[in-house]
């Protein structure tokens, strides 16, 4: 690894000060599982690495009036062990569990995963299916925006130098919304997604129909995307395996997968259809299990 400067931030405020001070020379170190690999390989190391991994105030997972607040520095391991997340949005646990392996999940953070902005990130689809918001802070204050607006293109976010991703918020109305995440990689551990997907929907109680369906897909476009046509198809439709399968087929036509050494575009399209169907089925199973639990 080439040499670089290093400074540790004690909390979010300190981190923002350090970022303002060092400007474009600074590179943020959160979990380090992507950054260190990059630094080992780079010809042009950053002037200074701002280590935010000690900023305790960026780590909390708490329930607020707005919804569920997940600090950007929560590790995938912490998300998997969070009772709040297990109860309110278990699809995030499925997503966290599918990332890397134990060792990388204990280091890697949800914020870091989002900020890599690689199309195959596993944190993205489940959060987007639950219409997550993010808070971004900089020297000029904080702002809130939908997570989808964070993603601009492969490895490119809408943040400017000096800005810090502070937290992810699952809006209160979406807490408990039945959702599921599915991933297909070349092996179960330590593999990038060929395709990943998440789906969330409410069950229109009277009619047993899809209500407010949300489908998100990863690794099949320059960023994580929604599948609006598949969602429109499902909205108000009776919940049947056929409808789930058809939604999968529609979603496959909405994506723009590429062919690379991991898989061909055609194979990825087939995977989208299957994974979307499985997500919908898993979310439905989760919802009915919960209803039964409530009844008994």
């Amino acid at each position: 690894m080439k040499s670089f400067g290093y400074v540790a931030a004690m909390d979010a405020k300190h981190a923002i000060e350090l970022l303002a001070e060092h400007g474009a020379a600074a590179k943020i170190l959160a979990g380090g599982t992507d950054l260190l690999v990059e630094l080992k390989d780079t010809q042009r190391p950053p002037g200074i690495v701002v280590d935010i991994s000690r900023a305790r105030d960026l780590k909390d997972i708490v329930l607020t009036d707005e919804g569920l607040r997940i600090g950007a520095l929560a590790t995938h391991g912490e998300i998997m062990r969070s009772a709040l997340i297990r109860d309110l949005c278990p699809a995030l646990i499925e997503a966290a569990h599918s990332i890397g392996a134990v060792q990388t999940r204990n280091l890697g953070t949800i914020g870091g995963n989002l900020m890599t902005c690689v199309p195959s990130m596993d944190s993205g689809p489940a959060l987007i299916a639950l219409e997550a918001q993010v808070t971004v802070a900089g020297a000029d204050g904080q702002r809130r925006m939908p997570l989808v607006d964070l993603f601009v293109g492969p490895r490119k976010t809408s943040l400017t130098p000096g800005q810090l991703l502070v937290e992810i918020v699952i809006p209160k109305p979406n807490l408990g919304k039945p959702a599921a995440f599915q991933k297909f990689g070349l092996r179960k551990g330590q593999a990038l997604a060929l395709v990943n997907a998440a789906a969330a929907f409410w069950i229109d109680d009277g009619k047993d129909a899809f209500k407010a369906p949300c489908i998100a897909l990863g690794a099949v476009a320059p960023t994580v995307i929604r599948a609006p046509q598949a969602e429109a198809y499902l909205a108000g439709r009776a919940i049947t395996p056929e409808a789930m399968a058809e939604a999968g087929r529609i979603a496959a036509t909405e994506a723009k997968p590429i062919s690379d050494f991991r898989a061909s575009a055609d194979y990825r399209r087939d995977l989208i259809a299957v994974l979307v169907k499985r997500c919908l089925a898993a979310a439905y199973a989760r919802a009915t299990a919960k209803t039964k639990e409530r009844v008994s």
Binding site: M1, K2, S3, Q43
Partner: protein
């Protein structure tokens, strides 16, 4: 620990020193007492259970492995030891026009730089000596080393390597073995043909056999290149002492061969070369010959210090040997009831840029190509071809797994087409006690039939769904 750790002024060991527990644990009695085996060696008869089967295996070295005390090469360090890094060509086929190492040599901490023209005999290999230690002047695959640096730290060595500039004249390249076989293909080791070794096994008369067959099946099977990925990368330390004697610690499985190769490349009498085979963190055939060792030795000679070289994982993939990709064409003539009358096999091995253990792999694959089946008429031929890719060499089975994949897949295809149970078609053809193989070897202790039946019983072949 209740106390907050406080910064100590110097690096030192505080009281408590628990990390030494591993030292005490080392001398604890073995977990499993050694078994007393009978002093008379027992020669098992076919079908007879040996004493070893069903026993747990304990290795005497497991204790140290589990305690983290086993010393692999990268765990060794000597006073004044330098670290070597290699400049890789990054181009598959080229002529080196000029190498400029001056910027690297000028870097503080760089103690020696080496290029191919400084190597006394710049070629090695277990069969043909066709591989250079450092390419000079022809680069034959992107992982070829073109220069090496020894510096006081790994970091400086790596930065020095980046400062070396090489001018290349790109040459034609060929990556597909079938293309490389053509007469007009670019000759990777000019003027020789790209077909660098061949073997034919003949038995009976295949043409007659095919003529007598009720049906003939053809199949084409291919396999890919595979890297051994030993968890421990290739590593070695070389020390050229003031008396002109060389000591090399290396993760090499065949130390006597490596010693001979080292002596040859360095033009040293063999008695001046001491090669110490250390613990190997996984070999699988990939560490059966020298690779970086002559370069480390010469760097040590130049710098007057011991030099350690450890491949990066990237080096491991592009600059160590791999398993041969095979293209396998099978043609089999059978009777209606599935007895094989004739089989012809043609194997094309993608040999990469250098021979390494290709000739051995070729031979074994060719001998085994027709499978464990009684076939009176066999014709197997195999060719290994140079391509501008990472060299291929020994890997577990020396070509046997590739042909096994092909002949067994082929048998399944035949069984399916003839409507015969896949197990049954094998039982109708397999070797028996005393069968002679296609090369005329009379086989003993043959239990293929029993093994197949046992296996089928164990996993419930008859009742499969």
């Amino acid at each position: 620990m209740t106390d907050e750790p406080k910064t100590l002024t110097r690096e030192r060991i505080a009281v408590g020193d628990m990390w030494r527990y591993a030292d005490d644990a080392r001398s604890l009695p073995a977990a499993v007492p050694p078994k007393t085996l009978p002093s008379e060696p027992l020669v098992p008869q076919p079908g007879q259970q040996t004493l070893a089967v069903g026993q747990r295996v304990t290795r005497p070295d497991s204790r140290n492995h589990g305690l983290g005390r086993t010393k692999y090469i990268d765990d060794l360090a000597f006073p004044g030891m330098l670290f070597a890094k290699f400049k890789r060509a990054g181009i598959a086929s080229a002529r080196i026009m000029r190498i400029d190492t001056s910027a690297a040599e000028a870097m503080p901490g760089v103690m020696a730089v080496l290029t191919g023209n400084e190597i006394p005999v710049n070629s090695f290999g277990p069969t043909f000596q066709d591989q250079p230690v450092l390419a000079d002047p022809i680069v034959r695959h992107a992982g070829d080393g073109v220069a090496a640096v020894a510096a006081v730290t790994e970091q400086i060595a790596a930065e020095a390597v980046e400062k070396i500039t090489v001018d290349y004249e790109p040459l034609p390249a060929v990556f597909d073995p079938l293309e490389a076989m053509r007469d007009d293909a670019y000759k990777i080791h000019a003027p020789n043909s790209n077909i660098y070794a061949s073997k034919v096994v003949r038995r009976g008369d295949v043409d007659k056999g095919f003529a007598q067959s009720d049906q003939i099946f053809e199949g084409r099977f291919t396999t890919q290149m595979v890297e051994h990925v030993p968890l421990e990368p290739h590593a070695a330390i070389a020390e050229w002492d003031a008396n002109g004697r060389l000591t090399v610690w290396a993760t090499i499985g065949r130390i006597t061969l490596a010693r001979a190769d080292l002596a040859r490349t360095l033009k040293l009498p063999m008695n001046r070369v001491r090669l110490i085979g250390t613990f190997v963190g996984g070999n699988f055939g990939g560490k059966n010959e020298i690779s970086q060792e002559p370069a480390l030795a010469l760097l040590s000679k130049k710098a007057g210090r011991p030099v350690k070289g450890v491949f990066t994982r990237n080096d491991e993939f592009i600059s160590s040997t791999t398993r041969h990709p095979f293209i396998m064409e099978y043609k089999t003539g059978v009777t209606k009831d599935g007895r094989i009358l004739a089989r012809s096999v043609r194997l094309i091995l993608d040999g990469g840029a250098y021979c390494s253990w290709s000739a051995t792999t070729l031979g074994k694959a060719c001998i085994l190509a027709s499978g464990p089946y009684k076939i009176d008429n066999v014709h197997s031929e195999a060719h290994v071809i140079y391509t501008n890719k990472t060299m291929t060499g020994a890997m577990r089975g020396f070509g046997a797994p590739q042909v096994c994949f092909a002949y067994e897949s082929h048998m399944d295809d035949i069984a399916k087409a003839l409507g015969i149970d896949p197990l049954e078609i094998r039982l109708r053809n397999v070797f028996d006690e005393g069968t002679s193989s296609p090369t005329g070897q009379v086989l003993h202790s043959v239990v293929v039939r029993e093994s197949l039946r046992n296996a089928a019983d164990r996993f419930g072949w008859e009742t499969r769904s």
